[in-house]
């Protein structure tokens, strides 16, 4: 065997090793990258008769996969599964302070929390007819005017805080007023105070209304959105029913001169810090303010310099209260909070906690200091979650 032969064998062998190496290198690299790729399969879906619970994650992934493979139309964006799921969970709580807002509704909410309104220019809340506890799930909430933007469309038309919405553009907004009336008549017919025809009449009217009804949430959206069209609103003010013809427009809530309007949305604590820099005496205007994010509100208390116990958020069913412990600088400032009956929710918690820290309160708030957390979802929709109610006492 010649020298050149041997070297050519070596060279060929080396070449082949290189070739194999290159190919395997490719396979290996791909293998490594693929480890993080989640692999969905239908093998976990085998239907059997067992009753063991399925964890929510598995369920979500499996159901998403099933819908993608079987549903009659292509799915498109899968994020809607997640946000739809959040909507379902929030709505199942049946709580008036825990609400899901779709993309457009959430935009309207955020903008109204910053004092800018579309629609009729009013703060509307879902309230139960009778004052009482947090949980009255058997009653139907009313869409109630908390406050109107001064100079806004609702104010110009003559609507007032406390009015509650009975109809929008001829659609009955489902409420218990008429249902109770029907019940009363039914009782009177049973006790022969009224003839049977009275019951027939009221039943017919109830059916007519029900056929043409919209939900309180739809009514909220119809009144809060839009800047051009007119809307006919039927409201109850006490026992009187009134009709208003309101032209929707943009409106902005004016604030008291030199007063600060905090915004309890992400970044709100930084805005506040900038607004109070170098000031020893502060005046807050919290009228017409309600919901927002509790965590931002707590940061705002820190920014104001409060330190120590400022009360607690009380919860139910033996759930531990959340103490409000401020971690501010301890710097003393003169703080005045201007409130009225439209100050509620997180804004009211802010006022009451600050009061415990030494702030002065001007006016009387709604005594509905429900703390909520507010979260935005990737598609622009969002939700509020009721985490408890403020109490000036310490935590249990």
């Amino acid at each position: 065997m010649g020298k050149s032969d041997r070297s050519s064998i070596y060279r060929s062998a080396g070449f082949m090793v290189l070739c194999l190496g290159a190919a395997f290198g490719g396979i290996l690299l791909r293998e490594q990258q693929s480890i993080q790729e989640p692999v969905f399969g239908l093998d976990r879906l085998v239907a059997s008769t067992g009753t063991q619970p399925i964890p929510e994650d598995d369920y979500f992934t499996e159901l998403a996969e099933i819908l993608k493979t079987h549903y009659v139309d292509p799915i498109g964006d899968e994020m809607k599964f997640a946000t739809g799921g959040v909507r379902g969970m929030i709505e199942s709580l049946g709580d008036l302070h825990s609400l899901y807002y779709d993309k457009n509704e959430f935009r309207l909410l955020i903008s109204s929390l910053q004092g800018k309104y579309e629609g009729i220019g009013a703060d509307l809340a879902f309230l139960y007819p009778t004052k009482g506890s947090n949980d009255e799930s058997d009653a139907i909430p009313r869409v109630t005017v908390l406050s109107v933007v001064p100079g806004g469309p609702a104010a110009k038309a003559g609507m007032k805080p406390g009015d509650w919405i009975d109809s929008v553009d001829g659609h009955w907004v489902i409420n218990s007023q008429f249902i109770n009336k029907a019940r009363e008549i039914q009782q009177k017919v049973q006790s022969k105070e009224l003839p049977q025809t009275a019951l027939d009449d009221i039943r017919r009217e109830l059916k007519q209304r029900a056929d043409n009804a919209i939900t309180p949430v739809r009514a909220w959206k119809r009144l809060m959105a839009g800047v051009a069209e007119r809307v006919e609103i039927g409201v109850f003010r006490g026992e009187n029913r009134m009709e208003f013809d309101v032209g929707k427009a943009l409106s902005e809530r004016p604030k008291l001169p030199d007063a600060i309007r905090p915004v309890f949305l992400p970044g709100g604590e930084k805005q506040l810090a900038a607004a109070i820099a170098g000031k020893a005496s502060l005046r807050f205007d919290l009228r017409g303010m309600s919901t927002g994010d509790y965590r931002v509100m707590a940061d705002c208390l820190n920014v104001l310099g409060y330190k120590g116990n400022l009360g607690s958020i009380v919860r139910q069913n033996g759930r531990a209260s959340i103490p409000i412990v401020a971690k501010g600088s301890g710097q003393k400032r003169q703080v005045v909070m201007v409130v009225d009956g439209s100050t509620r929710g997180v804004a009211e918690v802010f006022a009451l906690a600050a009061k415990k820290g030494g702030a002065k309160i001007e006016g009387a708030s709604a005594n509905r200091a429900v703390a909520t957390q507010l979260d935005m979802l990737p598609d622009g929709s969002g939700y509020t979650l009721n985490i408890g109610t403020y109490s000036a006492g310490g935590s249990k």
Partner: protein
Amino acid sequence: MKGLLRVAGVLLLLCGLFVFGYSWRDLQRKKLPSAETFSAIFGIKPAKPKVAPVRVFRDAFNHIKRDFYKNVDETKLKYAGLQGMMGSLGDPHTMFMEPRIAREFKLETKAQFAGIGARLGPDPLGARVGIVFEDSPAMKAGLKASDLIVAVDGKSVAGTDTDSIVLKIRGPEGTRVTLDVVREGEPNPLKITIRRAKIVTPTVMSKMLSGGIGYIQIAVFSEPTADQFEAAWNKLDSQGMNGLVIDLRNNPGGLLESVRDILSNFLENKPVVTLKMRDGDEERTVTLVGRKRNYSYPIVVLVNEESASASEIMAGVLKDYKMATLVGEHTYGKASVQNVIPFRDGSSAKITIARYYLPSGTDIGRKLDEDGLFVSGGIKVDIEEKLQDTPAPVLGEPNSDNQLARAIKVIEQKTGRKVALGEAQFSQLGADTWPIA
């Protein structure tokens, strides 16, 4: 120069082999690797959404579980989330069914189980017997309507809710159950032992109205419905019939095979419905051969807004082929077909897998405005007649049910015979909807 070329050639070959190795995974699945796959070699990550949907769902689930002001039932919360997830498709017929609902749904479409064959209603002392089915084990053992069941297998059932009593009485086929029964006129409770057998829920009710007008009410289209329908028609035919009213009001639908079999009584080898699947595939359902009936009397079908799905197929097909006159109000407008996929915890997902079209090709899909109010959809009736709600009508009684009276009038006009409306019959209120044991 030659050496340079050779080196370049070798490098190119090595590169080629590397790419081959890298794409091996895709080639095994008989597809070419995508551009994103290659950009990964160079560390370029594809633009993915920042958070995965499953993460968004899980975070909200944990947030609610942990932070809501009171305790929540985790299972309920999970099921509500899954319901909302399916609701995001905006299709009212695509829905999540938790285990209890899934079980009931399965029972409803099967319409058979093992029991004694009687409907039971509530009573403070136990369960009141409403209806005893023809030829059922209960009838053979001597159980009678309005008997009061006070004990099951020696155990008192006073104060127990009817559904639980029904479940105690049902059991495996062939086994026995002993009931303590209080009957009016009997001084002591009777002990009745009944051997359980397969019970087929009656889904069809029929009777002969005065003037030889037959009346068949179909409550739902389940597995035994076609047989029950044919038996009812035979019975009416044997009594001499001048016209037939088929009542599909409040019938929510059911199985496609069931309505196809029923329509085979009217039409032979004719397309009744075309399914359009998601991938564009079409599937035609054609009526069977050899079941067509001969009859020469007019047929009227009663429908209302609660007639949906299989009911609409039946009414729509008979209308399209001009085999019946439709009386009442427009139907619901459900133009889609669902499949049920079970999960291992007993829940299931009902998913719209196809849309269907009637022989005339019309789309009957229900359209709502953004407030959720009805705009259009469903099958239009030939003769509109709204149900008068005062005084409260008894459906199926011609002198109380104005829609049925109108149907009879249509038959009168077609046959030229006048029909006198009969006396109102008394039926025990609600007993026909009581649960079956």
